[in-house]
């Protein structure tokens, strides 16, 4: 039996970064807003206290803040001639469950995409010719430009109290910043973090090989900060427990540290936890959402009517819900028709281990404490002779030295276990670092999400099925950028280096990144996108979709900065355009 509840103005599916932004902005506009979250409520006090949060086994290894796959997972295969099998435990990526979402356990590596990332197809065709793009590569322009998003990037950065060095303020290149970034209206709200020894060595080495290193923009506060919502953060202490952990020190930007103290007291906002949204309900025309259905922790089913339904779950969960609810035509790769599930993409990473003579104290760090170069990202270099599209940044991060998962490998020839391994751990743990590459992944006709024909979740719904592999374009690009990383690593004058190229097929384990994108791509053409430039469903105009699920392909940067900017961009359109005249914001 389904219990029908009293209608609200806005229902948000999930209560992480994007839901928190939308909730605050829409509640400020006077709307009755409800967020429905599948996980538990959690906050800095008491859940993230430093007396227990710095527990590598519990949080990083066993995934104490991650989603529980017993109820719901996805199935995976490399190509559609294979049978997809369930991801039995987390590996390649770590989505969250619970209030704050993955914004609780991220590192805080905050980037803007390049201006040319947003018009990659038209830009690539103009610079290199139409034939430069492989036939099965389905990249497309976003339908929104960097210039349009700039004020919203700024808004997210000032929400978070980002620590960084501007590279381009209103067209003027700033010394020490990233000279390749798009113009920004003003500098970051806080100066860069202090530098670790290894990042200083990287900086020197990168300059020696003719590159322009800069401090990475960090959602870890270099100084105390009060944001525009009046929420106070404290200075980061470089404890080295950011990613996979929550911050007990109010120093890593998250919904808890930047929005919830201002949002939760509002009378016109409420949330329900331990409730799984299973459907977006549509009326008989299929053109209008009437609300959502959810199941609570006791297994009771509820119908929550709403005027506006906004999907704010993690990337692939939004796509799963769209497919289960019949919103947008499901993508069929064989017929090359449909949109929902199309253009799934990911990230391609590699690393070079550096073994040095001096003591690096790797356990002192912060999630976004890094020094990077951007010469080989996006279209910052001539791709013509290289024969691939895309690129990536090269960075030396000192995120921490947790001993189980952050061992930084061992020099070539070290035994995998036994006395030889032990000796290497003793000799190298304090004296190693890792130069990482972080590259783009283009979208392809064969990389997509759909519903699995065999496996089911706890409610009997089909699991999401992921079909994805690395393509030659990405492997070639990654090799190119990794070789550049190796040049910097060598210039650090190490005892030895070990290059870890990304090779072969994509694998569902071990961990790579939680940068899953696409499946609900945005764009200017309803034939190739699920949502329009305002993140509004083309088919059901009172449904909006947030998060990296709307990326049409994945540029060479971490996604959160753009996820935050798009949330502010979309909610501004809702407030200033949609509420005045509910209906499609872009005419087809």
């Amino acid at each position: 039996m389904v219990t029908k509840l009293k209608s609200v103005d806005v229902v948000l599916v999930g209560f992480g970064w994007t839901a928190s932004i939308l909730a605050k902005e829409l509640a400020d506009a006077g709307l009755q807003v409800l967020a429905i979250e599948r996980g538990e409520f959690r906050d800095t006090v008491p859940d993230f206290a430093t007396t227990h949060i710095q527990d590598e086994l519990r949080y990083a290894v066993r995934g104490g803040l991650f989603e529980n796959l017993a109820r719901e997972t996805l199935t995976f295969r490399n190509s559609f001639d294979q049978t997809a099998l369930p991801m039995r435990h987390l590996g390649s990526f770590n989505p969250a469950s619970g209030v704050g979402g993955a914004g609780v356990h991220w590192n805080g590596q905050n980037w803007r995409f390049l201006p040319t990332d947003f018009n990659i197809r038209s830009h690539t065709e103009a610079r290199y010719g139409k034939n430069f793009i492989p036939a099965d590569m389905t990249i497309q322009d976003w339908g929104v430009t960097y210039e349009e998003l700039e004020p919203y990037y700024d808004k997210f950065e000032y929400l978070c109290g980002i620590s960084g060095q501007a590279g381009n303020v209103q067209g003027a290149i700033q010394p020490g910043g990233n000279p390749f970034e798009g113009p920004r209206a003003r500098a970051y709200p806080l100066p860069p973090l202090k530098r670790s020894y290894a990042t200083v060595l990287f900086d020197k080495a990168a300059k020696e090989v003719g590159l322009k290193p800069f401090p990475c923009a960090a959602a870890n506060t270099s100084q105390p900060y009060k944001n525009p919502y009046g929420v106070q953060m404290g200075q980061c202490t470089y404890c080295g427990f950011c990613e996979w952990f929550a911050c007990g020190n109010y120093s890593k930007s998250s919904p808890q540290t930047t929005i919830l103290p201002a949002l939760l007291p509002m009378d016109n906002f409420s949330y329900r936890t331990l409730c799984d949204v299973t459907r977006v309900n549509l009326d008989s025309t299929g053109k209008r959402a009437t609300g959502v259905t959810y199941v609570d922790v006791q297994g009771r089913e509820f119908e929550q009517p709403a005027e506006l339904v906004i999907l704010c779950a993690f990337a692939q969960h939004n796509v799963h819900l769209l497919l289960l609810s019949g919103i947008g035509k499901p993508y069929d790769p064989r017929a090359n028709q449909g949109v929902t599930g199309r253009n799934y993409a990911y990230q391609i990473t590699s690393s070079v281990n550096v073994f040095l003579d001096n003591n690096m104290n790797p356990f002192m760090g912060a999630g976004a404490l890094g020094q990077a170069v951007d010469e080989f990202n996006g279209d910052n270099f001539d791709h013509g002779p290289l024969g691939f599209i895309g690129g990536g940044y090269i960075a030396l991060w000192t995120t921490g030295g947790r001993p189980i998962l952050q061992q930084h490998g061992a020099p070539e020839g070290t035994p995998k276990w036994g006395s030889g391994w032990k000796k290497s751990m003793q000799e190298n743990y304090l004296k190693s670092a890792s130069v990482a590459t972080h590259g783009s992944v283009m979208s392809y006709s064969g990389s997509y999400l759909d519903l699995d024909p065999t496996y089911r979740d706890a409610y009997g719904n089909p699991l999401l099925r992921l079909t994805f592999d690395f393509h030659d374009n990405e492997l070639k690009m990654s090799k190119f950028v990794t070789d550049k990383a190796a040049l910097i690593a060598k210039a650090m004058n190490p005892r030895s280096t070990k290059i870890n190229y990304r090779e072969g097929h994509y694998s569902i384990l071990p961990y790579e990144t939680t940068h899953n994108t696409g499946g609900a791509a945005m764009g200017a053409d309803p034939k190739t996108s699920v949502v329009n430039r305002y993140l509004q469903s083309w088919d059901v105009s009172n449904v909006f979709v947030m998060g990296s699920s709307v990326f049409p392909q994945n540029p060479g940067y971490n996604p959160t900065g753009t996820v935050g900017a798009l949330a502010y961009w979309a909610v501004d359109a809702i407030k200033t355009k949609y509420l005045k005249n509910p209906g499609p914001l872009v005419q087809t």
Partner: protein
């Protein structure tokens, strides 16, 4: 809070209580004195049988041996750590998707066994000892010389040894992963005894503030090792 943490907290509370009682009977200095731990042999194992513990101690003693650099996994109580993990939610695969149908996949599809980690240990320990008895004149793994033990472990690692009921490679990967965890996890989980793993590599434990030290390039960190329960972890675990 995990079951282990809660249990250890309870133990700490009990210890603190008895220490308070003792304090007016004895000179104050005695209170701070670490109490020696119970010998490994008398630990209350929760999941593994005595012969299984003998196997695990022998195997992890080769994976991370005691040598001139210090204690190995056996001395760091990693067998007890693995036992507690198998008795808990990880051993039962509580957060894993464990619905069928079950099929063998390609390596890129990851773990596809119907066995939970705890079941995998049980089946594979039996299988490895059976293999050793067949191959080494009725000797179990623990009864072999270290050279033969290393050969068997390499055979499991490469999947060259066929075990009845479980793939050797998957078992070795799980055993190595858990050994590594037990050597380097906070001592509240029962391994890393006396911070053996952390002291080996120079990790000072979960300290909170490096605002000054992070800019002292190359300088060794001076303060002693701490765990989540403080500096002297042996005091946490007694009783």
């Amino acid at each position: 809070m995990s079951e282990n943490t809660r249990r250890d907290l309870l133990r700490t509370t009990v210890i603190a209580g008895s220490a308070a009682v003792a304090s007016w009977l004895e000179p104050r200095a005695a209170v701070a004195e670490p109490v020696s731990r119970r010998p490994v042999a008398s630990r209350n194992f929760s999941y593994f049988s005595a012969p299984e513990i003998v196997f695990i101690d022998a195997a992890i003693g080769r994976l991370i041996p005691a040598d001139e650099l210090g204690p190995g996994a056996k001395e760091a109580d990693v067998a007890f750590f693995i036992d507690q993990q198998m008795a808990g939610s990880f051993g039962r695969a509580e957060t894993w998707y464990m619905q069928g149908p079950w099929k063998e996949g390609i390596p890129e599809q990851g773990y596809q066994l119907k066995l939970t980690p705890a079941q995998l240990y049980r089946v594979a320990i039996q299988g490895t000892d059976d293999y050793c008895r067949r191959t080494f004149n009725q000797a179990t793994f623990a009864e072999l010389g270290v050279g033969d033990q290393d050969k068997v472990l390499h055979g499991l690692e490469k999947g060259e040894i066929e075990l009845v009921g479980a793939p050797a490679k998957e078992f070795f990967a799980m055993l190595w992963q858990n050994t590594n965890e037990g050597f380097f996890a906070d001592p509240i989980y029962g391994g890393n005894r006396d911070f053996a793993g952390w002291k080996l590599i120079g990790f000072p434990g979960p300290r909170y503030n490096y605002v000054t030290e992070i800019e002292q390039y190359g300088k060794p960190y001076a303060l002693p090792t701490v765990g989540l329960m403080g500096r002297n972890e042996s005091a946490v675990r007694k009783g």
